[in-house]
């Protein structure tokens, strides 16, 4: 199958999933106990205001009609309007999305920089001390609450050790972002690195035992060259897949980390909107987060198909 055909087939698979995602996000409002409009507006709200919201959200109509209305707005890019900011929820999300993407991108990069050398060290020193130490990382690391890691990093690098990094914010310009986003991104990286190390070590061990590595070795290539040019190159394929599969975990982690470091991304927007009971914004952020995850799944599959053509024929 050609790569184009493969992408089209994968896209077709996504349609029912994205549809399901919208249904779940739509139903969030119906999970609110009692009358959602009254709960959201609070006890002080006048009946007229409640009735207005009912009409605006179509809560007075049957469910299928409500969903149709919801989808009708959605396909026109209308994610509803914020009850607090008095503007479109979509606009709010779009304004803050670059910050979150920075955090995810930088965090992913740092996680690869942490995980690849450690996994390579463990795989080449199998069953020796370095291997045992590296294998302990996932065991301990997965139990760290992401936001708590952030607080500890803040304590160590933000408040002590010469106040190397700012304790929050997004910074100005590229270097400013780099400086301000280092600690939050490192926190994101610590969250995902244990998973990455575990998978990458396993796949490197497999690769190091494969025939083509034996061939490379028997040609008399130095071990370093075998590792970097032959083993790691194949290990990258599995790194990409592991990152892709765990992107939901990674992206979800940023939500709370943004809160710890006061990073003005969509995670912080979601948490703030929760406290303002700004339902449309919470719905919009939830939807955007999940669409992001679905797109990353797609990109991972495509990247995988590019790197390893066998995938396309499965």
């Amino acid at each position: 199958m050609s790569l184009g055909g493969y992408v089209v087939r994968r896209l077709a698979h996504l349609v029912p999933i994205v549809l399901g995602v919208t249904i779940l996000v739509f139903f969030l409002i119906h999970l609110v106990p009692g009358d959602p409009a009254r709960t959201i507006l609070g006890n002080q709200a006048t009946d007229a205001r409640v009735a207005l919201l009912h009409h605006e959200w179509g809560l007075d109509r049957p469910l299928p009609v409500q969903y149709e209305k919801f989808m009708g707005r959605l396909v026109h890019g209308d994610l509803g309007s914020s009850l607090f900011y008095g503007m479109g929820a979509g606009r709010l999300v779009v304004d803050r999305l670059p910050v979150t993407l920075w955090l995810i991108g930088f965090g992913t990069l740092l996680s690869v920089l942490i995980a690849v050398p450690l996994a390579a060290l463990a795989a080449t020193q199998r069953d020796r001390l370095p291997d045992h130490l590296v294998r302990a990382v996932p065991l301990v690391g997965l139990g760290f609450p992401p936001f708590w890691v952030g607080i500890v990093l803040l304590l160590v690098f933000g408040l002590h050790l010469g106040r190397l990094f700012p304790v929050g914010g997004y910074g100005n310009g590229f270097t400013g972002h780099l400086h301000s986003m280092f600690l939050p991104s490192l926190t994101v990286a610590f969250g995902i690195a244990p998973i990455l190390i575990r998978s990458l070590r396993a796949s490197l061990l497999e690769v190091l035992e494969s025939d083509y590595v034996t061939t490379a070795r028997s040609k008399g290539l130095p071990e370093r060259r075998v590792l970097v040019h032959h083993a790691l190159r194949n290990g990258i394929v599995s790194t990409v897949s592991v990152l892709g599969v765990n992107v939901g975990f990674l992206v979800g982690g940023t939500l709370v980390i943004e809160q710890v470091f006061a990073v003005p991304g969509i995670g912080q927007l979601m948490i703030n909107s929760i406290f303002q009971r700004d339902f449309p914004v919470v719905q919009a952020v939830t939807l955007v987060f999940s669409v992001m995850v679905v797109l990353v799944y797609l990109l991972t599959d495509v990247a995988h198909a590019l790197l390893d053509p066998r995938v396309r024929f499965e």
């Binding site: 997965l142 760290f144 979800g252 809160q259 948490i271 929760i274 952020v285 939830t286």
Partner: protein
């Protein structure tokens, strides 16, 4: 024939049991996990005996104090005993996490069993539902659900169940698809046993191992979710002691009293380590030889 099939199944299970009895104490991760988790559970259960102060009683004359003979780990900003709050926090968070894992475990296992066994439209629908839930980042969906449902323990259970069942369903479904082609299932089928009997008496004991091992890691994830919700103020409601709320409360005093935020975090890490070791040990012990 049916007896023959059951004998085969039971032999497989007995083999597991035999292996379990033989080697558990020689598996360091299992022993380590049981010891750590056992200590935590024991402390939580015996909370009234190992603490000298009520975890919620305030003493505004003795706030933010360092360790003393009366307050082993000092007091927080409301003069509450930090050690008591840590131990009672274990009681809250461990109980919620262990209970929270039960519902997804049972529901996911049943769904996986049925969809893997029957295939067809049941399987298609299950896969669709699984893919939808998986499309949401874990924390985002949990937080959105708890926000909609309202904070509190009951709604944490509901949210974790809605998100958590998919992993069990996927694991069990995968195992069932492989297992249903094995001889003992074919033998049971040809002997005319009912589907229910094949599913629960023959398949379930053989496919449940993976789900149990995963449940240990899943409790870690649930504890992290509960603590995160507590940190955001959406979890267990005050004044009940909860590690997440303790970390959040302590964050205000990070510059002067760093221990207030770090100690509950360390408690989470130790608990999670115990569970991860236990999961590793169980996987090792229950692996078919």
């Amino acid at each position: 024939m049916s007896i023959a099939a059951e004998v085969v199944t039971e032999a497989v299970i007995a083999e597991h049991r035999h292996g379990f009895r033989r080697r558990w104490y020689r598996t360091p991760s299992f022993v380590g996990g049981v010891s750590i988790l056992g200590t935590m559970v024991l402390l939580a259960v015996l909370a009234p005996l190992v603490t000298r102060h009520d975890p919620t009683s305030q003493d505004l004359l003795h706030t933010l104090q360092g360790p003393t003979s009366s307050h082993w780990l000092g007091t927080d900003d409301l003069g509450r005993d930090v050690w008591s709050r840590l131990v009672y926090g274990a009681r809250t968070d461990l109980r919620v996490a262990f209970l929270a894992v039960l519902f997804p475990f049972v529901i996911g296992t049943l769904v996986g069993l049925v969809s893997g066994f029957y295939g067809g439209w049941i399987d298609t629908v299950t896969n669709w539902l699984v893919n939808i839930v998986v499309a949401f980042p874990f924390y985002v969906l949990i937080i959105a659900l708890v926000f909609a449902l309202g904070s509190g323990t009951r709604n944490i259970y509901i949210a974790i169940t809605i998100v958590g069942w998919v992993s069990y369903a996927r694991i069990v479904r995968g195992e069932v698809i492989v297992a249903k082609r094995r001889e003992y299932v074919l033998a049971a089928r040809s002997a005319g046993l009912s589907d229910a009997r094949i599913l629960f008496r023959h398949l379930l004991p053989n496919v449940i191992t993976q789900a149990i091992v995963f449940a240990m890691s899943d409790i870690v994830l649930d504890i992290l979710a509960i603590v995160t919700l507590g940190y955001l103020g959406l979890g267990v409601q005050p004044p009940t002691a909860d590690w997440g709320k303790m970390i959040a409360d302590g964050q205000t005093f990070l510059t002067t009293h760093w221990e207030l935020s770090t100690l509950p975090g360390i408690a989470v890490v130790i608990t999670a380590l115990g569970l991860s070791l236990l999961a590793d040990g169980l996987a090792d012990l229950l692996r078919p030889e």
